[in-house]
Every structure is written in C-alpha cells, then in structure tokens.
C-alpha cells in the first residue's frame, strides 16, 4: 500500500510551509500534493515558491502532484489554474470539473479529487477516457459503496486513494466563515485564517463538536482516523492511504507511524494522540462522525 499527503488545507506562512515540507521530504511518504485548494486570496506562496518546493520533494524521491482549487468562481482563478497546468507536469489533482476540462485539453493525466462526484462505474469510465488515472474517493463513500468499483478501476488502471487521517472537507461556500466569525467582510478578511493553524472549532451549545471552519471551507470537527484499519482498506483494494495535514508536528508523526506500519506489515500504527477527537464512520457506511475502534 502506498501513502500520500494531501495539500495543506489551512493558510500557513511561507516559513511554515517551507519548514513543513523539508520535514516531509525526510519521511517515507510516496506522493505529496501541493498547492492552495481552498481560497485564492491566500498568497503566502507564489507559484514559483511551490515549484521550488516541488523540486526539493522530487529530489527526495517523492511523487509531486499539483492540486487545483476546489471552488473556482472568478476569471482570475481560472487564469491561475491554466498557468498552474502549463507550468507543472506529471499527475495533476483536479478538484473541480474546470480542472478536469483543462487537464484533458492539456493532455495531462489527472487524479480526481474527493470533491469530484464519482459515485458509479459509468462516471469513472467517462473521466478515465478524459485522462483520469487516480481516484480519490468522495469522503462520504464507504467500503460497500466502493467495493463494486474496485475491479472496474483496476481494469482501467486507475489507482484508488482513500483518506485515512485528517479532517474531512465537508462543504464549500461563497461565504468566508472565518471572516464572518471575526465580523469582517470577505473582501476585507485581513487574512484572519492565517491565525489558526488547523481552523476554528465550532461546537454545539452543549459542547459537542460540530464542524471546523477554515475560510470558505467547512471541515469535519473530528479528525478522520483509519490508521488502525489500514489493512482492511488495503484488502478491500485501496491502493493509496491519504493523510490530510493537521498541525505540522502531528502530521509528520502520523506519516512516520503509518509508513512504518506498512513497511513492517504491522496492523496497528503506533500513533496515539488523545488531544483530538476522531471519527471514521463513513468507511463503515455510518454517519461520518461515528467512530469504530479497531478490534
């Protein structure tokens, strides 16, 4: 089983990214997704900075996959997407149908991100014809949903990727919820999201966790965690275990613990951090916030 690291969903500074990816380069992770996927106003990293980061990761033996934004509305966002596709190479992660369209036009093989709605074999086949070679499964699909798609995907040579750690992206809006919380208009957001390394927790008035706001993105409040079920995913036919970054230190720990477990074929990676709440219900065809402990 291979491993991947999704693009950082939060807004970090250039220094934070730089430090983080130099540590990532020293891990055994196989693929690293790079780029801003949530908000086009976040510009601590210019395209050249990303290209330099990519170069270092490639030198360290990683496969680098550039990711598109997820909700693209303005002409300038489409323009940036075009330049991202033209100035990078290799596999590209399409997170919106505009990226599928442009990757296809550029004859670029693409991974479909988990905000692309592939729920059945016919959609899978259609996107495969347009150049899709990797399928990052929509977060709400579980084991029983994807089982009938495993063999068609393998026949088409499509790799299957499933999120095993990190908060799940659950929604995208025109509205910036971080700016709203700070009583600021989106057009003058003062980049408040850069103050929160993992977004802002939203609880119910009884103190139960509900969601994590991260700019225009809403994430699951609980961190998805299938680390101790990685063999179950592997046996089902998942090719790549995807880790979505949380704070840098924890992310590196998670990567090391999972890649180590896979290398030594250990059922249960050692990672344990009780400061976060976990969930993994989707894989077991339950509400996403449920947690099934490994037996």
């Amino acid at each position: 089983m291979k491993t991947s690291l999704a693009a950082v969903p939060y807004f970090w500074s250039k220094e934070q990214y730089s430090q983080f990816y130099s540590e990532v380069a020293q891990t055994d992770i196989d693929s690293v997704y790079l780029g801003e996927t949530v908000c086009s106003k976040r510009r601590s990293m210019k395209l050249n900075d990303w290209l330099e980061t990519a170069e270092k990761l490639v030198d360290a033996g990683k496969q680098v996959v550039f990711s598109s934004m997820t909700l693209l509305e303005s002409e300038s966002e489409i323009k940036y997407l075009k330049s991202l596709i033209s100035k990078t190479d290799g596999l590209f992660e399409a997170n919106d149908m505009s990226s599928v369209q442009l990757a296809h036009q550029a004859n670029r093989p693409f991974a479909s991100g988990n905000a692309i709605n592939i729920y059945n074999e016919y959609t899978l086949q259609k996107l495969h014809k347009l150049g899709m070679t990797r399928w990052n499964v929509p977060v709400e699909l579980g084991k029983d949903d994807i089982s009938p798609l495993i063999s068609p995907a393998k026949q088409l040579g499509i790799e299957i990727e499933y999120q095993v750690f990190g908060r799940m992206p659950l929604a995208y809006s025109a509205r910036c919820f971080t700016a709203r919380h700070h009583k600021l208009p989106k057009d003058n957001c003062q980049f408040k999201c850069s103050e929160d390394i993992e977004g802002i927790l939203v609880n119910t008035r009884e103190g139960d966790s509900f969601a994590q706001i991260n700019g225009i993105q809403t994430q699951s409040a609980k961190v998805s965690n299938l680390l101790k079920h990685w063999q179950n995913l592997h046996q089902t036919g998942v090719d790549i275990a995807r880790i979505v970054p949380v704070a840098p230190d924890s992310t590196i720990e998670v990567i090391n613990s999972l890649t180590d477990a896979i290398k030594h074929n250990q059922a249960k990676p050692s990672y344990a951090d009780n400061t976060r709440e976990y969930c993994n219900g989707y894989w077991f065809q339950l509400a996403g916030l449920e947690l099934i402990e490994a037996s």
Binding site: E75, Y119, P148, A174, T204, E206, G288
Partner: protein
Amino acid sequence: MDLVCPAGNFQSLKKAVDNGADAVYIGMKNATNARHFAGLNFTPKDITRGINYAHSHQCKVYCAINTFPRQQHWKVWANAVDQAMDLGIDSLIVADCGVMDYIRHKSDSFPIHLSVQASATNIEALNFYHQNFGIRRAVLPRVLSLAQVTHLAKHSPVEIEVFGFGSLCIMAEGRCYLSSYITGESPNTQGVCSPSSHVRWEENDGVLKSRLNNLLIDQYEPHENAGYPTLCKGRFEVEGSTEYAMEEPTSLNTMDIIPELLSAGVAAIKIEGRQRSPAYVATVTDIWRRTIDHAKGKPTQITTTDKDKLSSLSEGKQTTIGAYERSWQ
C-alpha cells in the same frame, strides 16, 4: 426569461400552471431527486396527468433526476430516466456524469439541464458539461455574485438558469457532506438534507431545543420563533461566542435584481420549494410571474403587499439576496 416553478404533487403542478409558470419541475417517489421526502413527488400516473395538464396550457414539465447513484443502486436511476423519457418529459435535470452519459446513449438530442447539484460555477466547468454531454442549460449554484452570474450568462455555451426565491443553500450544492457527516443521510445519495427522521424537539422550562441526530442545532427562548433545524442555520459556540456560525434562518429573494438578470441574458428563474404546499406554489408563482412581466415592460405591478407575502412565506420570515451581493459573502 422563463419562470420555472416547483411541484411536489399534482395539485402544486396545477397551481403553478394556473398562475403562469413557463415550466414546472417535478421528481419521482425515490432517491433519484434532491427532495426525497415522505408523501412528496410523482408516480408515473401522476406524471402523465401532470404533463397533459401542463402541455394543454403551453407549460413545460422538467423532471429532476439530480442525485448521484452509487453503483449498487444504479438501476433505480436508469429506470427513472427510461420512465421519464417514455412518459414525455420535456427535459431532465441531471447532475451525475454517469446518468448524463446514459441519457446520451439513448438519445443524441434529448434536452439535459445541468442540475445545480453538479456545482458548475465557472466557464470551463460549463464547457466541460457542454462538450461531453451536450447540455442545453445549466442551473448555477447559489454561490456566485451578480457580476459573476452576468459574466457567465454572457460567455456560457449554454442557457443559464438561476435561483430566484426559496430556501437558501449556502454551500456549493452537490459538494456538501455536512448532513451525511451528522446523520448518515446525504443530499447527494439519498436526496435529503438534515432529514426529518433525525429531528427531535424537546421543551424544558419554556426553552425549546431542536436536535439533529441528538446534536443540538438551536435552542429558543419563549419569545423567539423556532425554525426547522437545518444544520447550517443553527446557533453554535465559536471561540466563546454564541452565533449563527454559517447562516441565519433566511430565504433567498432576488426580486430586486431581476432587471439586471434579465439584461444579462439569464434564460430562466427557478423557484425553490417542491416540499412546500400548493397554496405556497400558487402565491409565489403569481407574484414572480408579475415580477418577470414587469421587468419585461408589461403593464403589471408588484405591491408592498406582494413583498410582505413573500417575506411571510420565508424561512425565519426574512430574506436575503445571498451571494449575488458581495457583502453577503
């Protein structure tokens, strides 16, 4: 600019037609559409009856098959397409690429309207659906500003339809998994959001609590109006303050920008609300018929009473122009 109105049953369809809808949209009694609610929607017999009535009044009937079939349930969606086309539906409203592909295998030219659930928010996404599936029209998600809608209407390869009035989805449609995260039931696969089967009300010392799968969505003091616990419209704790973290209970109303949408070349205005009553459909269709006619320069009026009526029919008795206005975002 056409007026496209919702119908959850034959009576609503009749009210929409009688009050001047150019088209009515419906769904079948299963998870193939995004309003899969108990007691709602059309049997094949109702569809035939509805089409006959609408067509005899020069009104079109669209059928929404706009959820995403998982492989194990594929046949239900394929049957829905077969049935709708056999019964003489004028157009299918679709979101899933597999379903669109299936329709195109049956017919090169059958009109497909891209559902809002497909979340096409920019010109390249519209090009994608146009080039691959020959869609005729696209319904835009409620996440775009007026300037963005105008730009798309001008450059789009297909007709553009936008939402005019009704419940406000604040997330890009078709890409929101909040409901399935909390309840296990999803708009994309089961056609429901914040399903009523998971709602529970509790009253204690005059305080009313609304819960969704046990999680507290909101609580109301005796002087406050209680609303349905749609999960993105509750009051939550964020860094120590209690607030509507995502949105207040409110409905969309774009009446004030209809002249701009008309001159931008928007082909149709959609009214949300297949789950609402025939009386609701009658009132809203009547007022919106006159709104569009007035914008087109026809001798008709919209009064303050009309506006009050729309507000009183809205969630939380208040309306917003939503993402069309930058300040909302």
